[in-house]
Each structure stands twice: as C-alpha cells, then as structure tokens.
Amino acid sequence: MAFGWLPGAVGDIAHGAATTILLIAVTTLAGTLLSILGAAGRRNGPALLRRAIGWYVEVMRNTPFLVQLFFIFFGLPSLGIRLDPILAAMLAMTLNMAAYTIEIVGAGLDAVPRGQTEAALALGLRPRQVFIKIVLPQALKIIYPALTSQIVIMMLESAVVSQIAVRELTYEADMLQARTFRSFETYFVVTLVYLLMSMALRRLLVAGGRRALGAGVS
C-alpha cells in the first residue's frame, strides 16, 4: 500500500466528485418532476397513457441501468439522436430513477385520504389547484424517506456512467490508477469518497426535507 500519489490527485478527485454531484442534482430535480407527472398521469390520464406508463415502469425496473445507458448512448444515434456523454448520462439516470419514483410518488398520492380532495373541491378549488396545493405536498411528505433512499441509490449507480466516458468520480479513478499503477489504493480512496458523499447526501436531504416539508420528515 502506498499513498504517495494522493496529494497530486486531490484536484482530479475533487473535479470528479463535483461532476458526480452535478449529475445527481440534475437527476434528482428532473427525475422527481417526471415522476410526479408520471404518477399523476398513471392515475388520472387516458387509458392509453396509463398503460404506457405502466409498461415504461416495468421495462426500466427489469433491465440493468448499464444496458439502458448503452442503449441511449450507442443506440439512439442510429435514430439520428446524438447526445453528449454527460447529457446521455443525465437522460439515462433521470429515466431510470423516474421508473422507481413513479411508483413511490404514486403510493404517496394513494395514501392521502380522499376527503382531502373532496374538501378542497367543496371549497371551490380547481382540480389542478387541488392536486398541486393539497394532495401533492401531503404525498411528498409521506414518501420523502423513500425518495431520499432512491436518490442515494441513484448516486451510487452513477458510477457506471464512467463507461461512456463521463468525467465523473469513477472515470477520474480509472484515469488515476492507469497513471499511478496503484489500482487498489486508488479505488480504495475513491470508495471512501463515495461513502462520505452518500452519508452527506442523506443528511443533506433529511435536513432539506425538514425545512421544505415541515417537521416529521425523517
């Protein structure tokens, strides 16, 4: 074990970690938004849309993320859609995460008592206002812990996007170990960085959730 290379590598590791954080930040926002739309569409949309969302969820949940990533990055150009590696990674991560969070958000929507909707409608709110102002905030509060876990899982899975040459943390580790010939030590250090990042992300999400959604969020 030798760590003499470490001081010179801090910059690269930090740069990689920043890209990983960027990826997960974009995915969290886009994925949550998409899953709210998806869950709402699955409940209130036309029959065809409901079935399409149902199949989308099944296909994404029953195939590996790595294959989805390759399909998007290598496969879509043959349809004329060519994406930057980082855009392809963001798209793949968002689509993958949404498949899981559509179910989570949906469970939250189902858990809000019907009386809430009825009361809001009786007060004269329009259906869209009822959804955005009454049902959704309560649903998000219920499912927040599950959503948090899913975001952390997605951050850990983002290591895979190094395979399409997105310069995130794992990619930087691959480059470093090729340069230092200290493969084990390099991956050991980077694994620790991931561990710290996942613990910090979980804390941040819990604290952020408390502020945004009020007390009682764990």
């Binding site: 029953n62 993320f65 390759f70 496969g75 694994t191 991931y194």
Partner: protein, 215 residues
C-alpha cells in the same frame, strides 16, 4: 467485416446469458450463506457484534457496487491470490448480496413478537435452536417478497461484472456491437433478455407482497 444474421446475434447472446444466470445463482447462494452469518452478528446480544454487522451493511449499501468489484479485482492479488474475473465477480456480488439480504432478514426478525423468543426459551431451547427452529423460519417466511425483489436487483447487477472483464451478457453484447455496428438492435435484445429473466420474478414478488398484505 463478418456478417452476423439476427439469429447469430441472438444465439450468441443467449449463450452468454447462461453466464449471467449462473453468476446470479452463485452470488445469491453465496450471499445467502454469508448473509445469515452477518444476520447472526446483527441480531446478537453483544453490542459490538451488532455494531460491526451494522458497519458492514452500511459500507456495502453506501458505496457503488462497481467500486466493490474493482476492490475485489485489484485487492485480492495484493493478498497473493491469483484472481480471474469470474472469481472477483462471484466474491464481489456475494458480499454485496450478503449485506442486503442480512438487512432484509433482520427486518423480518425485528417484526416477530418478542413472545416468540420467550416461548422458545420456555420450551428449553437454547439460543441457536431458537433461531433455527422458531425465529429464522418465520423471519424468512415474512420477508419472501423483498428477498425475491432483491434477486431481481442482483440479476441486473451482474451487468457490472462486464466492466471487470467477466464474459457475461453485456460484455458479449459489447463485442457483438463492435463487430456489427448495430447498437440499437444488440442492446435492445440484451434488454429483452434481462427483462425475460427479471419480469417473472418481479411479478412473483408482487404476488407474495399481496398475499402478505391480505393476511
């Protein structure tokens, strides 16, 4: 360039899928065995045993599987063991699975009423007998749905072993893609094969979940 018919591609992918299935099974069996050991520590009376087991689980659940595989692949040779992708893949996925399975089963043990332990003790059973005859069978029974759900996750996770050079479905598909330049078709077929493997298990897990909720 070699000409590949659709059947050539499908046949090669199916042959490679055997390794995906075999690896999934090996990792599941290995993960279950190690997982039971971790579970013993996790529910032990000794505070330090519990802490060590919690740390073990947190470590595997808080780091990317890809990193765990790299550490296996590059770490074991440092201990003087000659290692091939297959060994690194099986060991890496085994430890990964053990952490998740131990945590799933622990939730089953926690869900049992404490009276089950007392009843076992009052029948004169010692600790291991209580576990083997009373606690674990019930804990396994009530956690069947998440266990099957994790098996699906494990099957999908085998895709990552392609990166450390194990010749399973994804690695073979990369090679075929490099020869045919038909990524849409090749990765679409790979996704289809994974779907055929995983979807029945997902449905089974869902049925188990409904049964459990119905009680």
């Amino acid at each position: 360039m070699i000409e590949f018919t659709l059947w050539d591609i499908v046949r090669n992918l199916l042959l490679a899928a055997r390794w995906t299935v075999l690896l999934s099974l090996a990792a599941f069996v290995g993960g279950a065995l190690v997982g039971i050991a971790v579970l013993f520590f996790r529910i032990s009376e000794n505070k330090w045993s519990r802490r060590i087991a919690s740390g073990y689980i947190a470590l595997f659940q808080g780091t990317p599987l890809l990193m765990q595989l790299f550490l296996m692949f590059f770490g074991l040779p440092m201990l003087g063991l000659r290692i091939e992708p297959w060994t690194a893949a099986v060991l890496g996925l085994t430890f990964f699975a053990s952490a998740y399975l131990a945590e799933i089963w622990r939730s089953g043990v926690d869900a049992l009423p404490l009276g089950q332990w007392d009843a076992g003790a009052s029948l004169g059973l010692h600790y291991l007998q209580e576990l083997r005859l009373i606690i674990l069978p019930q804990a396994f029974a009530i956690t069947r749905a998440p266990t099957v759900g994790f098996l699906v996750q494990l099957i999908k996770s085998t895709a990552l072993t392609s990166i450390i050079g194990f010749e399973e479905l994804v690695r073979t598909s990369n090679a075929i893609n490099n020869a045919t330049f038909e990524p849409f078709k090749v990765y679409g077929l790979v996704a289809l094969i994974f779907f055929v493997l995983c979807f029945p298990l997902t449905q089974y897990a869902r049925r188990l979940e409904k049964q459990a909720a119905g009680h």
